[in-house]
Assembly symmetry: C2
Homo-oligomer: 217 residues x 2
DNA sequence: GCATATTTGTCCGTATGTATA
DNA sequence: CTATACATACGGACAAATATG
């Protein structure tokens, strides 16, 4: 349990990451060194180390002599993320065999998305959908790719938070995830990859549309 | 020129990165906070921030209460890296069109590899080869993917350094890079992708063979 | 455009815990 | 087992840059 003791700065980074994921820190918001350090009960130096970690992950942006801010995903960043997702996720599907342990995690994600849909818990639907795609990436059996994808997903989460339309963003994909899962379980990986390609393009268009339609000023 | 002023910790991280790339810091070596901070003329706090950056990149590993060490790529890590390279580079090739600006960088890399080969400068051959593959990734026009690939390449460089057989590791691929370039320029992207797939598998086997054959104790 | 307050960037001293000889 | 060396973390200090009135 106390096996891998993580450094304090890493704990702080994790706490901030959670604040970001749960939307308690809004994109664009400035994070004061002194205030946050005091609020979290750590020194400024420790907090700065945590900042550096999160900046590397693209969750915070660092402006010299001005401080760190919660990253505000740009349209270009979103296009980039979906572009990479098409490359990585579709290829991971092609390499998949139906009895890979990650397939069970895909099934679990579909189930919990359905359950959350019944409760009209749209943000929970979104989380399940993201679990589904993380499981797809895990089909590739690559720790480094999994970690990289985790960063992309976290940044995409910020964009979803910014758009603040969880039902519109997540509901349409519950059924599609189910179809995708069925194809993978049936071993029709090429068909699954082709469908995911269209799927991701549709999702990208929806996000970008919502993005350009937001407070246009 | 002084447009983007980088923070001191970033400058320090870059300097350490260069020491790693040029093999002046060997894999497994420990980096003392006090010594290095003094040697580089910065405070320990600043150095620790740099350490955190490089640890995120996988170039250094952090052992709690023991300090930071130059990463020693494991066999598993190398397999992972080649696995990801096949996914990313081959797909980037498939998406390429022959007049993409990155194609010129591929050609430049082939030319400088030939030039270095004439001088029997094998490490320079290796650098050119890596430039060639970085250019392939740039065919995908994805800043985040380019950055991610840069991390993989830096870690792979550590492995090459560890093996210390630059000619054996790099010479065989000069010609292959030329063939690959020709196919891309001719628009035969699918053939190029197939060839790169075999190419990378061969390279992986060579690296792993050298890896298991090194000081087996 | 100027003076002032705030905040970051960086460094130092030091206390504490942990690992190793 | 003791001693030493080192990483870890904290708080204070000051200059430089930025924001504010």
């Amino acid at each position: 349990m106390s096996e891998s003791f993580v450094a304090l700065a890493d704990q702080v980074a994790d706490r901030i990451r959670n604040l970001l994921i749960f939307g308690e820190l809004k994109p664009g918001e400035r994070l004061s060194e002194v205030s946050l350090a005091q609020a979290m009960g750590v020194s400024r130096n420790t907090l700065r180390e945590a900042f550096r970690s999160l900046t590397k992950d693209g969750l915070l942006v660092h402006k010299t002599n001005r401080g760190v801010f919660v990253a505000t995903p740009s349209m270009g960043a979103i296009i980039d993320i979906y572009h990479i997702r098409r490359i990585i996720e579709c290829q991971a599907l092609r390499l998949a065999h139906g009895h890979h342990p990650a397939v069970m995690r895909m099934a679990d994600a579909v189930a919990s998305a359905h359950e959350a849909h019944g409760r009209e818990a749209w943000r929970a639907v979104g989380s399940s959908n993201m679990d589904f795609h993380a499981a797809i990436v895990d089909l590739a059996d690559s720790p480094k790719l999994t970690a990289f994808y985790g960063n992309l997903a976290a940044e995409l989460r910020l964009a979803f938070e910014l758009l603040n339309a969880p039902r519109w963003l997540h509901e349409p994909y519950i059924a599609m995830n189910g179809e995708l899962l069925a194809k993978v379980q049936a071993g029709e990986v090429e068909a699954a990859a082709a469908q995911l390609e269209r799927y991701l393009s549709q999702s990208e268009r929806a996000v970008l549309a919502a993005f350009s339609g937001r407070d246009a000023g």
